[in-house]
Symmetry: C2
Subunit: 555 residues, 2 copies
């Protein structure tokens, strides 16, 4: 402890970092600015501010109190944006229900979060009916529909629009401690039960400020997300607050477009019609949009896209740049609110040719303001930024989840040593850019060195015969683990390519010094398909098990 503390007790000059304070700028600057919900609804910010008051009054009327958990199951809409603000601003907690989970998992998260009130879009009514008997805490259901004439199912207390209409717009949103919980949601669990993460007002306010400060200020030319932009999310609002960008856009009074359920044609039409200039999405959906026939008829050259959630491939990055799209990676996770880094060009890189830029834009990036991000070896020692030393990415910043909700053990694991462990491994290059090379649980640990399973996969995917690949480590007495690569050949190559030929493909790169010799796989195994998780990622755990049982059967 150092220095003089100047704040002794809360007083007039104590001004908590709570979400309502994000609204002061747009309340002056953007009253006529628009918020658009697909083809369904357009409203001004002035109307939006009024609706926040109506929503809070409606919620109070049906029993919401400070600390109440209110779950929302909706597609991306102005309603969701209203919930992003009004629910935490009244001191309640917004649970953005992860609607992509399996029904039994959804029931688990609603019970585990202790939702008292549940907002349900009509598309999810059948799902709710199926799990209703298992829901232990919900006492009030509110119906959401885009069509005002839809009759409200019997088990619902009311319908969103109707409730707002009959509620007054004046609501005195209170001041309270900035460390009050504001939001929570559950990660998509690949194994085991979904895990809950949660964030306070202070954390969301600081994340909003730092993302706004970094996404414009760290960018040559300045243009990240600014007053004359048109923002449309293409990662869902139930997932890590749509990367926090709805908060940023609202604070800055930017025109916002919410597309409902994601359908490529609808998204492209909205981009054109509303003049969308900024979005964020996973690589898959960017690929889908660029390859949709409609996209060729649309000028995308004013569109800027931040890609995250999975690695942005060099091919996709180049494809987007060729279409005039300013595309770059970002990095974060559910546990981190989410934004940690952005792969923005440095001023001296702006004049670089496309190939060199692609290399930077597909990296994991530079920490945004206030993010202390490092790579550490298994003993917790920080590693140098030499572009070679690979370690686990650990992080500190003011907006990381305190832990997993009601799970002390996993929380302690997450925060071991006072740093949040991302479970990702990577290196930091001499220019300061982070590059993720693997998940720590997939990395192959051989003779004290780490071999990136992703890198081994990317290499063999460049071979013309290979359709899919998975690299895993299998136990080895001498080295601890040794890499094995499973390969699915393209139909036309089946039976025409040998293991030796593919091993030679690696050997050739080892001769060139591209990969170290000890990183070469010991075996290539041909398989007909590779097991995947519910979200389409390779199920490495199962793959390892299969390889081991095959080996055991052989021996």
């Amino acid at each position: 402890m150092a220095g003089k503390k100047i704040y002794k007790t809360p007083s007039a000059y104590d001004y908590p970092l709570i979400l309502k304070h994000l609204l002061h700028t747009p309340e002056r600057f953007a009253r006529d600015q628009e918020i658009v919900y697909g083809e369904v609804k357009r409203l001004t910010y002035a109307e939006f501010f009024e609706r926040l008051g109506r929503l809070a009054n409606a919620l109070k009327h049906i029993g919401a109190r400070p600390g109440s958990v209110i779950g929302v199951m909706d597609w991306d809409s102005h309603r969701y944006l209203e919930c992003f603000f009004a629910i935490p601003m009244m001191g309640a907690i917004l649970h953005t229900v992860n609607v992509r989970l399996a029904p039994e998992q959804i029931a688990y998260t609603i019970n585990h979060a202790e939702d008292e009130i549940l907002f349900v879009h009509r598309d999810f009514v059948p799902l709710i009916k199926a799990i209703r008997s298992r829901l232990k805490t919900v006492r009030t259901f509110v119906f959401l529909s885009d069509d005002p004439d839809t009759s409200v199912p019997g088990e619902f207390t009311g319908e969103y629009e109707g409730m707002l209409e009959t509620s007054p717009s004046e609501y005195d949103f209170p001041d309270f401690d900035e460390n009050t919980q504001a939001t929570m949601f559950y990660t998509t669990a690949t194994t085991g039960l979904p895990k809950g993460v949660y964030f306070s007002h202070r954390q969301l306010v600081l994340h909003t400020l730092a993302v706004a400060a970094g996404s414009n200020g760290m960018k040559p030319g300045g243009k990240g997300l600014a007053a004359d932009d048109v923002y449309m999310p293409i990662t869902p609002m139930f997932h890590v607050h749509a990367w926090g960008l709805p908060y940023v856009a609202t604070m800055l009074g930017i025109k916002q477009v919410y597309p409902g359920r994601y359908e490529p044609e609808k998204l492209l039409k909205l981009i054109e019609k509303e003049g969308v200039t900024f979005s964020h999405c996973v690589p898959t959906i960017l690929h889908m949009l660029l390859n949709h026939p409609l996209s060729r008829k649309i000028n995308l050259s004013k569109w800027r896209v931040n890609v995250g959630g999975a690695p942005l491939s060099e091919a996709l990055c180049r494809e987007a740049l060729d279409r005039g799209i300013d595309v770059y990676s970002g990095y974060g996770m559910s546990e981190t609110c989410p934004v940690l880094t952005l792969a923005l060009l440095r001023p001296d890189m702006v004049s670089w040719d496309k190939d060199l830029q692609v290399e930077v834009r597909t990296k994991t990036g530079i920490p945004i303001p206030l993010v202390d991000l490092r790579i550490a070896d298994p003993e917790g020692r920080f590693l140098p930024h030499d572009g070679k030393s690979v370690g686990e990415i650990v992080v500190r910043s003011p907006w990381l989840t305190q832990g997993y909700f009601k799970d002390k053990e996993k929380s302690e694991e997450l925060w071991s040593g006072g740093w949040l462990h991302t479970g990702d491994v990577g290196y930091i290059d001499r220019r300061g850019y982070l590059k993720i090379t693997d998940r720590i649980k997939d990395v192959i640990k051989s003779g004290g060195e780490w071999i990136s399973s992703l890198e081994l996969e990317n290499i063999i995917l460049k071979h013309e015969a290979v359709d899919e690949a998975a690299a895993v480590g299998i136990p080895d007495e001498k080295w601890g683990e040794r890499p094995v690569v499973l390969v699915v050949l393209k139909q036309e190559y089946v039976g025409k390519v040998s293991e030796d030929e593919l091993i030679a493909f690696y050997r050739n790169l080892a001769h060139k010094g591209t990969i170290p010799k000890w990183a070469m796989p010991d075996r290539i195994l041909f398989v007909n398909s590779l097991p995947k998780t519910s979200v389409g990622k390779l199920d490495k755990k199962l793959i390892r098990k299969q390889v081991l049982s095959t080996n055991a059967a052989k021996e």
Copy 2:
């Protein structure tokens, strides 16, 4: 109080908002970026980071401890920037000595702040020698010079560069409570003793984030102060942290140019040579630069200038725009860290013609993120934003001084009713833009209405015969106060213009509805000159006294 507090005790995930955390982004992003001190020195950010460690070690060596107050008397330099960071980062307090005060006031502030160590540029050595015997708390003097060969005066413990050279660059800047005091300085008192204001780490970090978020993000086109800009302050670093922009520029890794003492020719040469794109200054110096012969030879069309400290006149705004300079007002004060509002165009104003833009750019502006700024009547009721209702500007935000240092009475006055009272009066128009019309102590209160002394002065200054004018209120039995305007005529008009003629000038405007009839001055008094304060502002207090004694003599 509402909701669940999720932080019970400080723990791993508690991450204080302290200044050292602003450096994570530039430490990765900007190691090769430059910091320039006039023609004297150029260093990279990598060297700057090293020098922060050296400075902290040097200070520790000469006895600085957490809580020590360290005064700095320097022109704008890289050294000052180093003090902005290293001193608070070690837990000590930076006192930026206001070197424009009178010597006896400077001695007062150094004693009042309890400076233990004082950094003194050679230009201020004679001044320090003159007041030395009166300094009660300083035990160590450090000499600053741009010329390494200068011999260090006997009373100085050492010289800045020499001390850095002999100190190691490794320093483990500690974590501590974010409410620890970081900086302090004294306002230019027009009457009485200078008043001390002070700011914590948390306040400076939040101010930095919000200014960065607002100055780019609230601007159509986004370009406020971003990665490829070149920043040069033209309001001194001892005055409200040079409006906080050195912290913003450093956080974002922007090239910085510090010009030393302000001389128009030197400033213009630096703008050209270093490619300066962003500055902030008072109107006087902008006027001076634009009218300097050298400025015609320089392309200023890439220069953006934020003007504050005094109203930006429409004429000066137009002049700057004609030169291609993106110019706009900002508002704040010593007590507010300082930035509260920026007069940025809304997206729909970008296509407006110049005259309409000038009207917006010269307003006081829109609150930056997290600033809750209102106008209130004398009973503390908030007034509507109708472009007519005039009230005192009161404010809340996370970066306002807690009070005046060691002055409980004035602190309570400043914070009366839980809002910081700016002492400025103005209105907010229907578009949300604030316009300051007067200082509250100069406003003329007549029959329950407020008459702006500034407005009365601006009107009569448009009359061809009038050189200077001052409007004051004098006591009136019926109305409380009534306006009287003192006028200094231009030499050639003396004796040729009558009081009735000037009254008629006002009456004409009242007929047109430009001013209300009751706001017309009762009397115009011709005088040879108007009394001014030490900083060149009209001394209204003295003027009122003179008018009253003249009136009394007449009666």
